[in-house]
């Protein structure tokens, strides 16, 4: 678990940095979609790692909460937990 | 005398000439020696090449050290030549813009 990088992505799929994040992500890394980043869940990129999640309030705000499995939906507290246990965090 | 800002820096570095340096240095109570001129010339060349003043005092010292070595690239030496904040004093005399990160 430690030493893994947690990537926090708040840019929509068309944003260059969204693309860059997916390039830089390793298969063992974690990925959390927040803010406009959650729009990616509609058509999840193939390069998303196994451990990916999306922030509940941002999904709900955009009417996307029903689009993905419950196990992918996380609260603010969950995100803090993921951040605290990650070896390194990159905010894209 | 070319235009200067409220802190005494030249508005346009290209308007600088050596007598200006003498004049500004006198305001700071400095009489320019060969050692001063060496640093002033270095800063003029630095600005010509990189279009920027060393942004902080630390980077000024570092750049001088890169060019002249430890003997001159240290804050005590530069402080003796250019009292106050050496980067600021030296850039003002050399007609360069104010280093951005010097208070």
């Amino acid at each position: 678990m430690p030493d893994r990088t947690l990537h926090i992505l708040n840019k929509p799929p068309e944003h260059y940095r969204h693309h860059l994040c997916l390039e830089a992500i390793g298969p063992e890394d974690g990925l959390v979609f927040i803010e406009n980043g959650v729009l990616a869940v509609v058509q999840l990129p193939t390069s998303a790692p196994d451990r990916w999640y999306a922030l509940a309030p941002d999904l709900e705000a955009r009417g996307l909460i029903g689009q993905i499995g419950e196990d992918r939906v996380i609260s603010f507290d969950d995100m803090v937990e993921l951040t605290a246990t990650a070896g390194k965090v990159i905010s894209w | 005398m070319p235009e200067r800002n409220s802190e005494g820096f030249l508005e346009k570095p290209e308007h600088w000439y050596p007598e200006i340096a003498e004049f500004i240095a006198r305001e700071d109570g400095i009489s320019l020696s060969e050692n001063h001129w060496e640093i002033i010339k270095f800063l003029r060349d630095f600005y010509r090449d990189y279009q920027v003043s060393p942004p902080s005092n630390r980077l000024f010292v570092k750049a001088v050290r890169e060019r002249f070595g430890e003997d001159k690239g240290n804050s005590i030496y530069l402080m003796q030549l250019f009292p106050g904040t050496p980067a600021k004093t030296a850039c003002r005399i050399a007609g360069l813009p104010r280093p951005t990160n010097c208070l």
Partner: protein
């Protein structure tokens, strides 16, 4: 603690890239290892022959040339973006290393951060 600063915005359109450059120089001033990486439209920072006076700005090409003097460890350019903007090694500032973005790259640094 090593830091990778990624600049993915083109030069001259905004101040964010210059702020990132300032951040890099400040880290270097305190002898913190720092590398600058140019991605996306950001690779246009590295093109030789800029005449920024025409838009009333200082040349980022010239400013960047001071990076090694201040102690910035490396200047990197994203392979994909260089291809996209027609930049070959000879078009780039001296001392720039072209490399791919990927987990191998980001894992080499303790911190990865961005301009803007």
């Amino acid at each position: 603690m090593s830091t990778l600063i990624i600049i993915d915005q083109p030069p001259y359109g905004s101040w964010e890239g210059r702020e990132a450059l300032d951040m890099a120089f400040s880290l270097a001033a305190f002898d913190q290892p720092v590398t600058l990486m140019f991605c996306g439209a950001g690779v246009n920072w590295l093109r030789k022959g800029q005449n920024a006076g025409k838009v009333g700005q200082k040349s980022v090409e010239r400013n960047l040339a001071a990076a090694p003097i201040f102690g910035v460890e490396a200047l990197l350019a994203c392979t994909e973006a260089c291809n996209r903007y027609g930049l070959t090694q000879t078009d780039l500032l001296d001392g720039v290393t072209v490399t791919a973005v990927g987990p191998e790259l980001t894992s080499r640094y303790d911190h990865v951060t961005f301009a803007g």
